[in-house]
């Protein structure tokens, strides 16, 4: 059983910097959890506490049911893959992979067997006698993963392993790691700042900010039902559009008024929002929910507006349109249907699919619509 559990864990550095605050986390045996967030959010620190490379200031960490706060890294039965591979430059690939086993005095046949097995899994058999400096980035990363595999650890830890690779290689390796997880069925914790990696790899994703876990959920839940403005803006690309404004009562529901834009939020949304009428809020709406009105008709006419398109980026599969922002807000990014071809600096008729919008409290930035959403679903 290789479950990893954090109970009330905090980490404070000397000098008072609190990197991790009161984290409660459970990684089920055999699952892949992704820790994602901007730089400095505490995700790496959390990972390193599992590894034993950082001391736990408060709380308990359990691996496989055993409390490991005071256990040395080498005795925790974990393996780690680092961002810059950290291969021993003076050893061959084979020896790099075998090093940990040799130090633990495993018999040679056993070592041989394990290394060959891992090499086959990662398709690096021909590289076994090479030195690290002769390897490409992708190959080196695979060796680093292989080095972790041969240890047959209870838990695999990945610290932003793909950050040093170029974009294309990153996509390739991402798929390989996902496949690896399938094959091995081991418990894995994966840290990244890239939300695309998080969405594609994790069975569960934990979004962190400023040392706190904001939300742990499956990728789709994070996308559809973010718990606050930060998570909403972090997940999804291009990111969600936010507009600051006021809520007011209207005959057909609740009206949202931003500086020069007014949207009518229908009955379904309105029910949960009445308590916030008159207060300032953020309205969040994803680019994929803003359409060219010519190609989207299922919308309240009140929510079709005429806005100038400033920049148009045809991507082939869709068209990104940057609609003019006002003095106090940024451009609104919209993902139009690929067939739509607005001209630059021309007005466009834009349809806002308000049923998919999220509203966030102006101060706490917490979602005001989520509870309703979940209630409706559940």
């Amino acid at each position: 059983m290789a479950e990893v559990k954090f109970v009330n864990v905090s980490k404070v550095y000397e000098g008072g910097v609190q990197a991790v605050k009161d984290v409660d986390l459970t990684v089920e045996d055999g699952s892949l959890l992704v820790l994602v967030g901007p730089s400095g959010c505490g995700k790496s620190t959390t990972l390193r506490m599992v590894a034993g490379l950082e001391e736990v200031t408060e709380g308990d960490v359990y691996i496989g049911g055993r409390r490991v706060n005071d256990v040395l890294p080498k005795d925790r039965d974990i393996a780690m893959v680092f961002q810059n591979y950290a291969l021993y430059p003076h050893m061959t690939v084979y020896n790099n992979m075998a090093f940990g086993l040799k130090l633990r005095k495993y018999p040679t046949e056993e070592i041989e067997g394990r290394v060959q097995q891992a090499a086959e899994l990662l398709e690096i058999n021909e590289l076994l006698q090479r030195r690290p400096r002769e390897l490409s980035g992708g190959q080196a990363q695979r060796v680093a993963v292989g080095r972790a595999i041969v240890r047959h650890p209870q838990v695999f830890l990945f610290d932003e392993p793909l950050s040093n690779l170029d974009a294309k290689l990153r996509v390739q390796m991402r798929v390989e790691i996902a496949r690896l997880h399938e094959r091995l069925g081991a418990t894995m914790i994966y840290v990244t700042h890239d939300q695309v990696e998080a969405m594609t790899l994790g069975s569960k994703v934990a979004v962190m900010k400023d040392g706190y876990i904001q939300q742990i959920d499956t990728p789709m839940e994070l996308y559809d039902h973010p718990v606050n403005k930060f998570v909403a803006g972090f997940i999804g690309s291009p990111p969600m559009n936010f507009m600051e404004g006021q809520l007011s009562r209207a005959a057909d529901g609740v009206r949202f008024t931003a500086e020069d834009l007014q949207l009518t939020l229908g009955d379904e949304l309105a029910s949960g929002l009445r308590g916030h009428v008159g207060k300032s809020v953020y309205l969040g709406i994803r680019p994929e929910d803003i359409h060219d009105s010519a190609y989207f008709s299922d919308v309240d006419p009140a929510n079709v507006k005429t806005i100038r398109a400033e920049v148009v980026e045809p991507l082939g599969s869709e068209t990104l349109v940057y609609l003019r922002g006002g003095a106090q807000r940024r451009d609104i990014v919209a993902k139009f249907d690929a067939r739509s071809t607005p001209a630059v600096n021309q007005d466009v008729r834009v349809a806002f699919d308000v049923t998919k919008a999220h509203v966030f409290d102006g101060d706490s930035e917490e979602s005001l619509t989520r509870a309703r959403e979940l209630g409706r679903v559940g």
């Binding site: 590894a51 490379l53 890294p73 080498k74 974990i78 393996a79 780690m80 680092f82 961002q83 810059n84 950290a86 021993y88 430059p89 003076h90 050893m91 090093f99 940990g100 130090l103 633990r104």
Partner: protein, 276 residues
């Protein structure tokens, strides 16, 4: 540098300047060489131009005297460099990775030591060596030289290790490496360049060491090169040929060392200058 704007005049000036400088720099060696083949009569008659017959015997005579000194210096330089580096690499690993109690105090003390004029401490050092029976011994001299070399090596190495990405060490830790193993498998391979440069610097420094051997070594057979030559020019006041030959021979070992290691040294200096 744009080749288009290069005038012939500029090209000529640059190269002429460099060759002129080189000529001036190499003049002493030319002198050494020429004089080394003369006997005293030739020397006093025509000091600077080559004279025939060439007295090869001067060289044999020189070797007889200076050979011992060279052997001594080799021993001294090698031993001192080894001791210096072993101690410095181990200690800088500790200082670079961990904060040891009183560590900062120790470092402040090192900086202070660097500023002290060594000569004031010579007599107490001499007494200390006497009490430890390290006088008149090349091994004793190596140990003391190694002590002197610690400061610089520690400083450079510690900065290097501090700047190394932690991952290398952490990976080794997770693999189960002990501290010593981490030094062997992480520090030495990664810092090979700077360690080589330091080794060369220590070697040359020990090779040139003069004051300390001057006051601690009594037996002529134990003298290292610098002191030996110094004493020689008093004794050999009239025998210029063998003297020059001796000087020339003294330069050979370092030439060999440099022929093999120059690449490391230049790279090491550049790296050092960057970190600087």
């Amino acid at each position: 540098m744009s080749k288009v704007s290069e005038g012939r005049g500029a090209w000529f000036l640059k190269h002429a300047y460099l060759w002129a400088m080189l000529a001036l720099i190499f003049l002493p060696f030319y002198v050494m060489l020429v004089v080394s083949f003369k006997d005293n009569t030739q020397f006093y008659n025509r000091t600077w131009a080559p004279t025939w017959p060439l007295h090869w015997g001067n060289w044999l005579e020189a070797w007889d005297t200076v050979g011992v000194y060279i052997a001594n210096s080799v021993f001294l330089a090698v031993t001192a460099t080894l001791i210096t580096l072993v101690a410095a690499v181990l200690a800088s690993y500790v200082f670079g990775r961990y904060r040891v109690p009183f560590g900062d105090l120790f470092w402040a003390g090192l900086i202070v030591l660097m500023l002290m004029p060594g000569v004031a401490n010579l007599i107490p050092l001499f007494n200390l060596m006497k009490r430890l029976t390290l006088l008149n011994s090349l091994l004793g001299l190596s140990v003391v030289t190694a002590a002197g070399g610690q400061v610089f090596c520690l400083y450079v190495l510690r900065n290097f290790i501090e700047d190394m990405p932690k991952e290398f060490f952490e990976c080794a830790r997770i693999d189960g490496a002990s501290h010593l193993q981490q030094v062997i498998h992480v520090v030495i391979p990664q810092c090979g360049g700077i360690i080589s440069a330091l080794a060369i610097m220590q070697f040359v420094g020990a090779w040139n060491s003069f004051i300390l051997p001057l006051i601690t070594i009594r037996d002529t057979e134990l003298l290292p090169l610098a002191v030996g030559l110094y004493r020689l020019q008093g004794a050999y006041v009239k025998q210029w040929g063998p003297l020059m030959a001796a000087y020339f021979i003294s330069a050979v070992p370092l030439v060999i060392l440099f022929a093999f290691t120059m690449r490391f040294f230049i790279r090491g200096i550049s790296e050092g200058a960057i970190k600087g």
